[in-house]
């Protein structure tokens, strides 16, 4: 009963993309000049797309909520970016990267998309090098690689511990060049609050100028959302404070399907939560697991004494340490994929072996690596990460093991898109983390940067041309139409409503509560009862929020609380949909772990009989049950096997 | 080129060149002045002073030197003013990263005090030697030929009989030294002749040069003060 057309081209896997490119339409340069494109978001996906579209000759308007496009949260990615370059001669290939990604995603991604991602990955590296991205180099001057969680080849390119920053600055520089050339107009400190449809096609957006509260309208022939992930549903996550799901959610309410919301990734190496005043979690790069060994005490008494602060990690002898990842997964050891490492940490802590005061932390120890490689090598590899860790925790990781605990990190789910990256609304595109993308139920390390740039540099600029070729007769979009009036009225109405509740509790009060519900019931491990409870509790919280939130300040001025309130209103709805999606998917796969679906030794058990689909939720109206469509996933090139990292 | 003159880096470029030029001048000047302390009869110094007053090369250099000073001073005012304009409102808690007395923060004040000193200095000696004359200059002395001034007498008299001036001159030496302790390496930085390795070396050299010049000039009045 799938009424979903993912527009996957015919032909053998390896030829789909080139055949598709050959088949789709192209807009002439003269016509490109007449076409306007809106790009919301200037992370890796948005900046690369806006720059590339500007270079092609379209008129681009780009938006971000930060004060500069350079600050999008892509900047925070530390570890690296994958590409099937096979520079290391370790038998890497496009196929292997594709296969690793599909397998890592627990066979819940589209073959064709994932293959295309692997196929364009080498171009990304070339592009970034040409832009002057200072990737790490070998002594001979060639590009250096490292291996990254969950794979057996070295294909990760990196720029110290700041890969995301450097790639984003590369894309930002390309964007700047287009701004200078006049082909891109940049609107920083502008938040998109709605997408406007005219005759069923996306024709513009409504934004709020965050510096003065002014509501503005922008029209275009196509709209691209590159607004990042919704991980902040959990309140505490590794996302930026402003990361949000609002753009995607408003699009959903206008008819864009939302796909696989229950797939979120929990990252195993974050600095543990501390106290109740914490505002955000800091990721320690996954690359640390290359040299650090994860352990908890073997004896419960030791763990208890650690929690009370009576002893410290260095007091525990090697033979009393339980290197549980090496024990449980001898072949991958400390390098098992994120979901596996995260659940294993939770399992140990739930069993009473947690090592910090809250009992929610495990050790990541560099003692052994320092013994083996020397302090200098470790310093060179992770110096800045160690420094950051010490600043935050006041503990020196050269002499004492780090404490880590899993935290929400990435959203595999997102706006549903077809092979062209177009959502179910014609003319509305979603790229980067914002779409439900190519990672299935779990994303491999260093693949999000790859996907963002693949979408923005090499895929969208082609596929959007196919759509726009049909729009060349459409004149400039007039924003003085009933559709824009209506959309603006809704936006203003909602903001005024939030502002006028004048209740007792600040936004964060509700956000923390939502985070708690999500972490408890829709977090690392889920079951039917908990999910149902989550849906109920979220509904209650939503009611309370809409009757008791207090938004201070002024409507027509900078007002961070008003921004937060709007975002939280959407997170409440996203949380609800996540729980529904998780409830629907009665199997364990990737980041989604259902307690009802496990093997005898407690590992996640995928169920391909019922689970081989991507969900695509359709909005039915406020407070109405949404409808789920199924996009059946067909695997013609890989054989579905249970993931095993033993 | 006019855009270069107005550009922030262009303006600094002239400060740097004139500053380095002034440092070279100071070395020459100091070498000469130290002769005051080698020969209490004054013969050596008077000869040197005469040479300086009559040598054609020095004659050519004099207006250039004056120009160097003038450019350095005018530019310093211009730069300082522009830089102050860049921060219309300051900090309540102050600016605490560099100590308030760091020479780098006080170049204009140090330079200004050096300028005041310079004016006093010019009136003490240069004006008298060149223009107004002074009875002391005509005082007979050992080895003085016809028409050669007894510059030594003029200098020695000031330093021996007016301790206030000794203090002013010692201060002058210290101020110039402080100015140069930042100015020397800064000048190399400004013209781009610096990198992370040379940074330490230049800063060391700056302090050495500053010490030599500062201490050298301060030594002369001290010598007279103590010896006579």
């Amino acid at each position: 009963m799938s009424n979903i057309d993912s527009k996957i081209p015919e032909g053998p896997l390896a030829e789909k993309w080139s055949r598709h490119k050959a088949a789709i339409r192209v807009v002439s340069p003269a016509n490109k000049r007449k076409l306007d494109i809106i790009v919301v978001g200037t992370g890796l996906a948005g900046a690369s797309a806006a720059a590339s579209l500007g270079e092609l000759g379209y008129n681009v308007k780009a938006f971000c909520y930060q004060d500069s496009p350079r600050r999008a949260h892509s900047i925070a990615a530390q570890g690296g970016i994958n590409a099937a370059k096979n520079y290391q001669n370790d038998n890497d290939s496009v196929y292997r990267l594709f296969y690793d990604t599909i397998k890592g995603g627990d066979y819940r991604a589209r073959e064709a998309n994932t293959y295309r991602l692997a196929e364009v990955s080498p171009n990304i590296i070339d592009q970034c090098v040409a832009q002057g991205v200072p990737f790490a180099r070998e002594y001979g001057g060639t590009l250096a690689n490292r291996s990254f969680g969950g794979v057996l080849v070295s294909r990760t390119f990196y720029a110290r511990g700041q890969t995301g920053q450097q790639l984003l600055l590369g894309a930002y520089s390309a964007l700047n060049r287009q701004i200078d050339a006049g082909s891109v107009e940049m609107y920083a400190r502008h938040e998109m609050l709605d997408v406007v449809l005219v005759d069923g096609k996306a024709r513009g957006i409504i934004v709020r100028d965050l510096t003065n509260g002014e509501i503005k309208r922008f029209g275009a022939h196509a709209v691209v959302m590159a607004t990042g992930g919704y991980g902040n549903v959990f309140f505490l996550s590794t996302n930026a404070m402003g990361s949000n799901g609002s753009a995607a959610w408003q699009a959903y309410k206008k008819g864009a399907y939302f796909s696989n919301p229950c797939y979120v990734q929990i990252h195993p190496t974050c600095i543990p939560v501390h106290g109740s005043q914490q505002s955000k979690l800091t990721l320690m790069s996954e690359s640390l697991r290359n040299d650090g060994r994860v352990w908890v005490p073997k004896k419960k008494e030791d763990a208890e004494r650690l929690r009370k602060g009576e002893i410290s990690a260095v007091d525990i002898k090697d033979e009393d340490r339980d290197f549980y990842l090496e024990r449980r997964y001898p072949s991958y050891g400390n390098l098992v994929p994120r979901d596996v490492a995260s659940r294993a940490a939770k399992e140990r802590c739930d069993a009473g072996f947690g090592v910090n005061a809250e009992g929610k932390a495990v050790f990541l120890d560099f003692k052994y690596a320092i013994e083996r490689l020397g302090r200098e090598t470790i310093e060179k590899r992770y110096g800045n990460l160690f420094q950051m860790y010490e600043k935050i925790t006041d503990v020196d990781p050269y002499t004492h093991p780090m404490q880590i605990y899993p935290a929400i990190h990435y959203a595999m789910g997102g706006t549903w898109v077809d092979y062209n990256l177009m959502t179910s609304i014609p003319g509305l595109y979603a790229i980067g983390e914002a779409n439900f993308s190519d990672h299935g139920a779990n994303r491999l390390g260093a693949s999000a940067l790859m996907q963002g740039l693949a979408d923005g540099y090499f895929i969208l600029p082609y596929t959007i041309g196919d759509y726009l070729a049909g729009e060349i007769m459409v004149p400039k979009i007039d924003t003085n139409t009933p559709e824009f009036d209506e959309a603006e009225k809704n936006v203003t109405g909602r903001l005024e409503k939030l502002y006028n509740i004048k209740g007792d509790q600040p936004v964060d009060y509700f956000h923390k509560k939502l985070g708690h519900i999500m972490w408890e019931y829709v977090g690392m491990s889920r079951n039917e009862e908990g999910l149902k409870k989550a849906i109920e509790e979220i509904a209650e919280l939503k009611k309370e929020f809409w009757s008791n939130v207090r938004v201070p300040g002024e409507m027509n001025n900078i007002n961070p609380e008003l921004e937060k309130a709007g975002r939280l209103a959407d997170f409440l709805d996203i949380g609800d949909l996540m729980a529904r999606d998780a409830l629907n998917r009665n199997e364990s796969c990737g980041g989604h772990f259902r307690e009802e679906s496990v093997t005898e030794d407690g590992e996640a058990k995928r169920n391909d009989e019922i689970g081989c689909y991507a969900s695509a939720w359709e909005f039915q109206g406020e407070d109405k049950e949404p409808v789920m469509h199924r996009e059946e996933l067909v695997f013609e090139n890989v054989k579905l096997t249970q993931r095993s990292y033993k | 080129m006019s855009s270069f003159m107005k550009a922030s880096i262009g303006r600094k470029f002239f400060m740097s060149l004139t500053g380095l030029f002034l440092i070279i001048f100071l070395f020459v000047h100091l070498t000469l002045n130290l002769l005051l302390t080698f020969d209490d009869s004054g013969v050596l110094f008077n000869e040197a002073a005469h040479f300086m007053a009559t040598n054609p090369i020095i004659k050519i250099m004099e207006p250039i030197l004056a120009l160097g000073f003038i450019i350095h001073i005018i530019w310093s005012g211009w730069i300082t003013l522009e830089n102050m304009k860049a921060r219309p409102k300051g900090y309540q808690a102050g600016d605490n990263l560099l100590k308030w007395y760091a020479p780098a923060k006080n170049m204009f004040i140090l330079g200004g005090m050096v300028l005041i000193f310079l004016i006093i200095h010019l009136f003490n000696f240069y004006v008298k030697m060149r223009f107004t004359g002074d009875p002391l200059l005509n005082q007979p002395g050992p080895g003085l030929e016809d028409g050669v001034h007894n510059s030594y007498a003029l200098v020695a008299n000031l330093f021996i009989h007016y301790p206030v001036y000794d203090i002013i001159y010692i201060l002058g030496g210290i101020l110039v030294g402080l100015h140069i302790s930042h100015g020397f390496w800064s000048a190399f930085q400004t013209i781009g002749l610096n990198n992370s390795k040379w940074m330490i070396r230049l800063k060391f050299l700056a302090h050495l040069v500053a010490f030599l010049i500062g201490a050298g000039f301060a030594y002369i009045p001290l010598y007279f003060l103590i010896k006579f």
Partner: protein
């Protein structure tokens, strides 16, 4: 690792409702702050308190809260990003403060960074400088393989040192001349170290410096305060390189 609790601290903070208002300092009391909290978490607590009291919370810029986006920008007790070195405001922790202390918090002060509200300033001038030439002019596609041009590890590392700049503006905020030289030098130096950047080196240095001057930043007088304030340890040796690049470009005109 049990962190001490600060029973009471006083936060003296700049309040200014909009760009045209004159602005003033207000002092607030905050109680029971764990020393393990970050500085911004302390401000969160204060804001929560202000909201509950029906007052307008303090507006401040922040986003990643892990020292990389460059958005946070507070001048704390006379130090850009506070009294700790090599960190941003969001990485500053309350361990650095004592019970009963009055902490003065001000926005970045520079003519080129006008205050928008409270502690939020407008740093678009930085973007404008980058737009003037902080890029390599290559289009998407049609570029050679990444390994075609070998780059020595030393050069790559040095370029990376410069490229680490997060555009926070602490250098401008700290410099007594509100000079943006360290920021501009970081970009120019990164490209000057890489073969990809050398092609346009002259145009870039001239354009970026001209833009910087035009936007009202002061000139560099080599005080070195910027590198001490810089959370990413960008060295002023990059300024020497910028001077060199600029002079080379100008003299070859």
């Amino acid at each position: 690792m049990a962190d001490k609790i600060l029973k009471k601290i006083y936060v003296k903070v700049w309040r200014q409702n909009n760009p045209s208002e004159k602005g003033r300092f207000e002092t607030y009391e905050v109680e029971n702050v764990s020393q393990g909290s970050s500085f911004l978490e302390m401000i969160d607590i204060l804001n929560d308190q202000l909201i509950r009291e029906g007052k307008d919370p303090i507006a401040f810029d922040h986003d990643c809260r892990e020292g990389i986006c460059g958005m946070c920008s507070m001048y704390i007790n006379g130090h850009a990003h506070g009294p700790d070195s090599e960190i941003t405001t969001c990485q500053l922790h309350m361990r650095r403060f004592e019970d009963g202390e009055t902490i003065t918090v001000e926005p970045w002060r520079a003519g080129a960074f006008p205050v928008i509200k409270d502690l939020i300033v407008d740093r678009t001038a930085f973007d404008k400088i980058q737009q003037a030439g902080g890029y390599v002019s290559v289009n998407t596609g049609g570029v050679p393989d990444g390994n075609t041009i070998p780059i020595s590890q030393v050069d790559a590392e040095e370029a990376m040192d410069a490229a680490a700049c997060i555009g926070c503006g602490a250098c401008v905020a700290t410099c007594k001349n509100s000079s943006a030289m360290l920021f501009v030098a970081a970009k120019v130096s990164q490209f000057a170290k890489l073969p990809q950047g050398k092609v346009e080196a002259k145009r870039r240095a001239k354009a970026m410096v001209a833009k910087m001057d035009e936007l009202g930043f002061g000139g560099c007088t080599n005080t070195g305060a910027c590198e001490l304030a810089c959370p990413k340890n960008i060295s002023i040796s990059h300024i020497a390189r910028l001077n060199r690049e600029y002079l080379k470009a100008k003299f070859s005109d």
